[in-house]
Symmetry: D2
Subunit: 142 residues, 4 copies
């Protein structure tokens, strides 16, 4: 069975993202992952700015990243994402693959929580969204 993802985004390493060792500095993976999450939500009409205006914040509570193969200057890569819900947590499972050989560079999990006017909660809008995305993904797998 072919692996499918809810969202994927292509990047190209920029020289200023590399450090003394000529490889992408570890902190930049967080940037790539964050940008991918934001683009994913926006592509599905969920806007941080709009949530914010309604007193809702979606914040990362926990991040885990496994650094497998370093990315070098000018390499292209694919950032892929799945989202699921676990109780109060919205979990993003994310991976970065080098292009074109699809070597796994980084594997991560970001646990985020929603606050509504400062109080921890779940968001019907997000709950529905996760359900819809999961169903769509399962359909595509068949």
């Amino acid at each position: 069975m072919k692996q499918n993802y809810m969202f994927q985004l292509e990047f190209k390493v920029r020289d200023y993202e590399c450090d003394l060792q000529g490889i992408v500095n570890n902190a930049n993976y967080q940037h790539f992952y964050e940008h991918t999450r934001h683009e994913f939500l926006l592509a599905n009409d969920i806007s941080f700015a709009q949530l914010h205006d309604e007193g809702v914040e979606l914040v990362v509570a926990r991040a885990t990243m496994a650094f497998k193969t370093p990315l070098h200057s000018r390499e292209s890569f694919l950032s892929v994402l799945n989202m699921r819900q676990e109780g109060m947590r919205y979990i993003f499972d994310q991976k970065i693959f080098r292009l074109p050989d699809m070597v796994l560079c980084n594997s991560a999990r970001f646990d985020s929580v929603a606050t509504i006017h400062g109080k921890l909660g779940t968001l019907p809008l997000l709950d529905d969204f996760v359900k819809r995305m999961t169903e769509k993904q399962n359909d595509e797998k068949v």
Copy 2:
């Protein structure tokens, strides 16, 4: 006559600020200069946040930087600043010297303008401040 400055701040290069060549990436000088300007204003009780709440923004309109000697990983440096007024512009003359040998690494000029509720203007508060700082500096030079 000894050169004196309105403000100076010491930094130490962090590894993640260096790029492939093992030297501080050019864009970071802008960060160092910006941080120095903000600390200078705050040290003199002029807060961006407070100005912002009163509808005032102080924004950089023009930046010129001359790159003289590159900074390397772990070197310390001194960021110095003078401020003056030229018509509607508040000008920051800034320099970065390597420590302890005081070799000039970077020399810059940042022209900033103030907007009050979106309209270009001068700020009596800032005009007075520049006058006061200049007099204080001249006194110290004697």
Copy 3:
């Protein structure tokens, strides 16, 4: 006469590039411009890594940037570039336009110099390159 450029590259603002005011932090323009220069040279088979291996460094000696209109989160923009030679200096005239309305956001000039085994010099390879690019550009203007 339509303005033409030697190179242009499209970007999209990423949230982490924006600061407290919700606009792209000034230092990031240097990043965008640097990435554009590197991509321009690479697209024309001039590699920094290769130059470096031959003892040649092309470094920025002076940067001037005029900040016209701030870029906001998620906006797309076009980074354009021309290159010319002035004595020992290789000058990059660069601009950033917001997309799709082509409002000028930033206008910049980067003066770079070449060092060959640490000594300032000109590079026949680069001199020829600039001449070739200029002729090509003039042809296209007719």
Copy 4:
């Protein structure tokens, strides 16, 4: 019993480290932690540059960060560190506390591995170092 750490370093948030929400962007915590590890090793005469020259690289294999309380513009914070060994892994347990009230902002664990001329291994130099630091810490706890 008072908690003690092998190393601690004080920082002050810089405005350009904050994002749209006015809080430190998550990726910067990785920068703060990295800088703390490097300063810790250097303070104990273990230099990355020297290791590198001997064909040794110490790289992060896995990072876990729990985001507890966001840091805001201009706040100061204390970055603390302990190091231990677990088989082939050198583990850094790191925390960031807001100053002066010592509220826990971030809690992290970085697993690093050593490669010697590209092959995974342990470093007698580092093994001894960890043992020495642990004994010193236990002595101080009594």
